[in-house]
Amino acid sequence: MALVTRTSLDGKVVTIDISGRFDFSIHREFRQVYEQDQGTTQYLINLRQTEYMDSSALGMLLLLREHAGGDRANIKIMHCQPEVKKILTIANFHHLFCLD
């Protein structure tokens, strides 16, 4: 499974682990995660196992951001591999998301 979701006990923090390729093939699962959620205040996107991401993945992150309140969204993108980090940096996504 390329996408695994964990929710904290109080239901406020949702962690999404993405392994392998982060691209259009998982857009349905990715969208389901935030469409089903109730009362989530923070999203953690764990990209430790992500080998590659394309521009449609960037688009999915923007959709999540909009769903989570736009500028008020609390989304943290974590543990990026160098290649993935580079894609996020070229797109200047550090202006929109918290990258560690």
Binding site: F24, S56, L62, H95, L96
Partner: protein, 588 residues
């Protein structure tokens, strides 16, 4: 010999009556079968041998054939082969009725095209069941065939619509002046529609604007966004707007029309008229690379901004990077499709590999072809997963001066009239607005001097830049004498302009008619301290430095250029005549 008995079918007897061809040399057999099928409401044709069976089949195209094996003139095997060859895409079941029981003979029945067989003597109920079963298969086949045909015609229609749309699309998203000799490019879309965008246009005062864009995804949905972008890019470039203005306009448009999650990574490049200064805005494209003609390290212009269409204009950073480029330097911009192009093994072409190709030891004019060949070899015919675009710009003013047919538009100047217009621009206006495009617009509307547009724009732009940069901002162009200073100059310009609190620039344009000729006087006055204009270098040809070319250039384009007062007021007189384009230009 041919005795066909046509029995009109009885719609009551069967829900789906069809036509059956019986081939048997035994009269009794024929009669029995005929009677039975007729009773079920089917239309029946009867043949006494194989030859006759083929003839009747051709004439009546029955839905089912009942075939005896041993017959005179032509046996059942041969007749079946011929009938099957005649059916084309239709499925017509052939059932062998035979007294033979040896396995080899039965196998042969199927080999020559038979669909089933029944031993004589057979029970009528069994034959009826077999006919019903094969009829089901035949109907399935017919349904499948008609679906296949519908799909094929749908596909053909879509293809036609695509082709029409593509024609429309390429008219709007036309390549501008990409055919210029100092530009080389590779466009490799995945499908008919390209989600990558490559546009080039000459600026009114000389020089070039280039835009490379990459929309999220590919194919038609990605390509649709390209249409408004191309419109804005060409219209604004022609009106003399700077790339930062175009960036803002395109961003606003895309933010409004694109759904969240779809955006356009883009780089806009501006080469000035002398091809010595490159201005760039890179939002989300891979590093734009500048290569020296003699090899050596690459200069990188990294993405500094979010892609277009992600945030609204209040959060858009429209600041640009300015660098000095040397004659013969080459600039490469490309979409991620190039570095992510994959070999059949899954390995990516990658940025390091691209840079190896760009810095390798080979003639500068062959680098582009070498990169393209390298890319093709690397991909080795593997599937393409994204649109792929690469452009090379050679910074060679000699090549740049080449004029393309698209530049010669047939606008007609209006008869010379008398008018005056004046602008007083305060510090706040100067901080937020570039007034030149609007002034040029009005000038064109009033007098239609399209043939003079580039020269007029140059005069206005040079004099305005001097008034702003030296008069109000107090910048020293001596800074521009070194490449480092060059960058420092433009950084200082940006900072001082943003902090500008006081001062103003007055621009006045006066036009008078002199028969069929017209005289335009441009007067620009700034509130700065002025300068020692008497010591200004008048000779353009003798000037080989990076700066100070502005005034001699303007002098060469005008009838007269005079400074007044402390040097904070300048007046340029430009004379034009209907039917001529360059009366005012005297040899320097």
């Amino acid at each position: 010999m041919v005795s066909a008995s046509v029995v009109p079918h009885n719609p009551v007897a069967s829900s789906a009556p069809f036509t059956v061809l019986i081939a048997d040399d035994d009269r009794i057999n024929r009669m029995v079968l005929h009677a039975m099928l007729k009773k079920d409401g089917h239309t029946v044709y009867v043949a006494e041998n194989g030859h006759e069976a083929v003839t009747l089949f051709e004439q009546h195209q029955p839905d089912l054939v009942l075939m005896d094996v041993m017959m005179p003139y032509m046996d059942g095997y041969e007749a079946t082969s011929r009938i099957k060859a005649l059916t084309g895409e239709r499925f017509v079941p052939v059932i062998f009725l035979t007294a033979m029981t040896d396995a080899q003979a039965l196998v042969h029945c199927v080999e020559c095209g038979g669909d089933d067989f029944l031993h004589k003597p057979y029970k009528h109920a069994i034959l009826k069941a077999k006919i019903a079963a094969l009829e089901r298969v035949r109907q399935l086949y017919t349904t499948l065939q008609s679906q296949k045909n519908a799909l094929a015609s749908h596909h053909r229609r879509l293809q036609r619509e695509y082709e029409v749309a593509e024609k429309l699309f390429s008219t709007i998203v036309h390549p501008g002046c990409l055919d210029a000799p100092h530009l080389k490019y590779l466009l490799s879309p995945m499908s008919i529609f390209n989600g990558d965008l490559l546009l080039a246009a000459r600026k009114p005062a000389g020089g070039l604007h280039i835009m490379l864009g990459d929309f999220t995804g590919h194919g038609l949905p990605a390509a649709v966004g390209a249409m408004p972008v191309a419109d804005i890019f060409y219209a604004m470039t022609a009106k003399g707007y700077a790339i930062s203005d175009i960036v803002a306009e395109v961003n606003q448009k895309l933010k409004a029309i694109l759904p969240t999650g779809v955006f356009c990574a883009a780089a806009l490049l501006d080469l000035d008229a002398t091809y010595s200064q490159l201005t760039i805005w890179n939002g989300g494209l891979p590093d734009v690379l500048v290569c020296q003609p003699s090899g050596g390290p690459l200069r990188r212009l990294c993405s500094q901004h979010l892609p277009l269409g992600v945030v609204d204009n209040t959060r858009l950073d429209r600041s640009v990077e300015v660098i000095e480029v040397m004659p013969g330097e080459r600039v490469y911009a490309y979409t991620d499709g190039v570095i992510e192009a994959s070999a059949p093994t899954g390995e990516m072409f990658s940025q390091p590999r691209l840079e190896v190709y760009l810095t390798q030891d080979c003639a500068p004019e062959q680098v582009f072809e070498t990169v393209c060949d390298g890319l093709t070899t690397f991909r080795a015919g593997g599937p393409q997963r994204d649109d792929l675009t690469l452009i090379e710009i050679t910074c060679d003013a000699g090549l740049a001066n080449h004029t393309s047919p698209e530049a010669t538009t047939s606008y007609v100047a209006k008869a010379p009239a008398c008018w005056h217009m004046a602008f007083a621009l305060d510090a706040m206006t100067l901080r937020t607005l570039d007034p030149l495009p609007q002034i040029m617009q009005m000038l064109m509307a009033l007098q239609g001097l399209h043939a003079h547009r580039e020269r007029l724009y140059t005069i206005l732009a040079e004099l305005f830049a001097n008034a702003l940069e030296h008069g109000l901002l107090g910048l020293d162009s001596a800074l521009k004498h070194t490449p480092q200073g060059f960058v420092a100059y433009y950084t200082a310009r940006e900072q001082s302009l943003a902090a500008l609190e006081h001062g103003c620039i007055n621009i006045a344009l006066t036009h008078t008619a002199m028969g069929t000729a017209g005289q335009l006087t441009l007067r620009i006055e700034d509130s700065g301290p002025g300068f020692a204009y008497q010591r200004c270098q008048p000779d353009l040809a003798a000037n080989t430095t990076h700066s100070g070319r502005g005034i001699p250039l303007v002098r060469a384009l005008c009838q007269t250029l005079t400074y007044h007062g402390a040097g904070n007021c300048v007046e340029a007189v430009y004379v034009w005549s209907q039917g001529e384009t360059n009366v005012s230009q005297h040899e320097p």
